[in-house]
């Protein structure tokens, strides 16, 4: 380090300044193309890249479910009741003779639908609450914070169960329940970030040229907290998939005949696990793999997008 800093002076004294240096003095940074970003991400964050790959695979599965599945997920075949895997049914069949493999493929749709919608809706509302709370400050902030305190006092799953109890079990009600659950925690984290942003000089500068609160929030505060927002969405997406599975498993989520991973694990799957382990193993592995992937992807995104947050979780 010290040597490098002294180098130009030393060279000049030795009269060697005219000699070509062995290495170029200034290297252009690599072009910021999408491909370079991708290579950088894969080499620096292999685990995150794995997570991204599984996430993409999940989306493809969900979109092309009718092509990938080889049975109708709702069709009950009496002859196939509790059929073992690797027969006519890849992953066996359940207590009504429905194909586990096809239900698993269609289950990806449910997981992804709930995961994406609830994390986006919840986090977006949470971010809006956070930025408004900081920008308007004072009494607004105080009241909003008490509401958030109160909401956070409910354990996530318990609050979701309570909302489901009131709304009744259906796919969109699961989305509503989980969206509500993610608002307070997102608002709390985003608020901390917005508090720091609100003290920045560019906010003051914006104010000085006459920008109103809405313009400052929309054009200056939200864009500067967007990296954190993306990271939180990713984490909540994994969490929402587990939460949906838990709700459906408990019987308060999506209706039982709908092929969801959590629902597949409830009832016979957990009661007769010793007799028909395939009913419990495959959906469980699917949930674990997908949630693991979203978590490592979230970790990697956090490190890449916002190094300040490193090690905060």
């Amino acid at each position: 380090m010290a040597e490098e800093q002294r180098a130009p002076g030393d060279l000049a004294e030795q009269g060697a300044i005219t000699a070509l240096p062995e290495r170029p003095i200034f290297v252009l940074p690599p072009k910021r193309t999408f491909r370079n970003h991708l290579v950088f991400f894969i080499t620096k964050k292999p685990l995150g890249a794995f997570g991204a790959a599984v996430a993409i695979l999940l989306m493809v599965t969900a979109v092309f479910a009718p092509v990938i599945a080889n049975h109708d997920p709702y069709e009950t075949v009496v002859a196939n009741i509790y059929a073992a895997p690797l027969t006519e049914n890849f992953f066996g069949a359940d207590r009504l003779g429905r194909d586990v493999y096809s239900r698993l493929i269609y289950g990806a749709r449910i997981s992804l639908y709930v995961g994406i919608l609830s994390s986006f809706i919840g986090c977006t509302i949470g971010m809006a609450v956070g930025v408004a709370s900081v920008r308007f400050g004072g009494v607004t902030d105080l009241i909003v914070q008490r509401f958030i305190d109160a909401m956070i006092a409910f354990p996530t799953l318990i609050l979701a169960i309570a909302i489901m109890a009131a709304l009744g079990g259906s796919l969109n009600n699961v989305v509503i329940a989980l969206s509500i659950v993610y608002i307070p925690s997102t608002a709390r984290i985003m608020r901390a970030q917005f508090l720091a942003i609100n003290e920045m000089d560019y906010i003051l500068a914006g104010r000085a040229i006459g920008a109103g609160d809405w313009r400052i929030m929309w054009k200056h505060m939200i864009p500067n907290a967007f990296a954190l927002y993306l990271v939180i969405v990713t984490f909540h997406l994994g969490g929402a998939i587990i939460a949906e599975a838990s709700l459906s498993f408990l019987g308060v989520g999506v209706p039982i005949d709908v092929p969801s991973w959590g629902g597949m694990l409830s009832g016979a799957a957990s009661q007769y696990v010793a007799l028909a382990p395939w009913l419990a193993v495959f959906p469980g592995v699917a949930i674990a793999l997908v949630v693991f992937s979203w978590n490592v992807l979230g970790d990697a995104l956090r490190d890449v997008l916002d190094p300040r947050l490193k090690g905060t979780n």
């Binding site: 799953l157 599975a245 959590g262 696990v273 419990a280 469980g284 674990a288 090690g311 979780n313």
Partner: protein, 320 residues
């Protein structure tokens, strides 16, 4: 410190009020009239007269305007009356809950204890050997532990127990004061299944807390004065790293409760979580309200105590 205690405690009251409002609000947007549901029976087909309906509404208090209902409900709760169960007719909600609390508490503490004795050493070793194979293995295990849904862990636990030990979840729960050994046998496996995600969480924060502490000046000083690695780790590093671990684990109490709901349902443990789920299926709203308010209250009190402890240990918080 005194001003901090007063300030922090005063915040507790509005929060608690909002908690009750939220729960009351959520469960009152339910479509349908509880009185009609009770009289209508399972399939809403039973016959009943207008007079019966009006009487039951008056008995349940649902004939009054909603804000009156709320204040009546709050007033009763303050006097320890959580209402009468819709389903277990004649049962006081609080009595039923009281019966279940010790079970959930025992299960929760047992799993927390098991999780800590595995997780803390794991986290310490992972931090000491940062970026080695052992560290990576630990980190993957911890992320897996968080990703594995605990109901699946529970199902798989039962699977292996049935396979190797021919063990099945017991149908009748035995309290510890009747037969501690049978009680232990009944709860040890649910506690393990419940503990996996907590184990992962504690190991993760232990690792990051240890890493932070290990870069402190006083660790270098301790090494410089010739202390052995064992002493440096156990007496200087771990002691300082444990504080955030303990408080963060405390703040995660809610997650532990969420977990017990599922584990109790699978392992047939008669705790609060199972009471909550069965009440939902029976649409027993006083019971649901009571259970959830009680859980939220415990979380709030715990958070208050943790905040105060933290401020007491770390004076910087008091003055911010």
């Amino acid at each position: 410190m005194r001003t901090y205690i007063v300030k922090r405690s005063l915040l507790f009251i509005p929060t608690l009020l909002i908690v009750t409002m939220v729960i009351f609000g959520i469960l009152r947007v339910v479509p349908g009239d509880p009185a009609m549901m009770i009289l209508g029976g399972e399939d809403a087909e039973d016959d009943y007269s207008e007079q019966q309906l009006a009487d039951l509404r008056a008995k349940l208090g649902t004939d009054k305007p909603i804000h009156v209902q709320y204040f009546v409900w709050i007033g009763k709760m303050l006097r320890g009356d959580f209402g009468i169960s819709f389903f277990y007719e004649g049962d006081m909600v609080l009595d039923d809950i009281k019966e279940r609390v010790p079970v959930t508490l025992e299960l929760g503490l047992m799993s927390l204890f098991l999780a800590s004795i595995v997780a803390i050493p794991l986290g310490v070793i992972s931090a000491m050997k940062q970026d080695t194979i052992g560290d990576y293995v630990t980190r993957v295990i911890t992320i897996m532990g968080i990703a594995l849904p605990n109901f699946w862990v529970a199902i798989m636990t039962i699977f292996f127990l049935v396979l190797f030990f021919n063990w099945a979840p017991p149908l009748a729960y035995v309290p510890p004061w009747e037969d501690p050994w049978v009680n232990f046998q009944q709860l040890i496996f649910p506690a393990i299944a419940l503990g996996t995600s907590n184990m992962a969480f504690i190991a993760r924060i232990t690792r990051s807390a240890m890493l932070e502490v290990l870069h402190e000046d006083y660790i270098r000083t301790a090494r410089a004065k010739g202390l052995g690695e064992k002493v440096v780790i156990s007496r200087h590093a771990l002691r300082n790293a444990l504080l955030p671990v303990i408080t963060l684990t405390g703040y995660e109490f809610g997650r532990l409760i969420s977990g017990t709901v599922i584990i109790e349902v699978i392992f047939l443990v008669p705790g609060m979580g199972r009471l909550l789920i069965t009440s939902i299926f029976h649409r027993d709203f006083p019971m649901i309200q009571g259970t959830i308010v009680l859980i939220a209250l415990v979380v709030l009190v715990l958070n208050l105590l943790l905040d105060l402890t933290y401020a007491w240990v770390n004076p910087r918080i008091r003055y911010s």
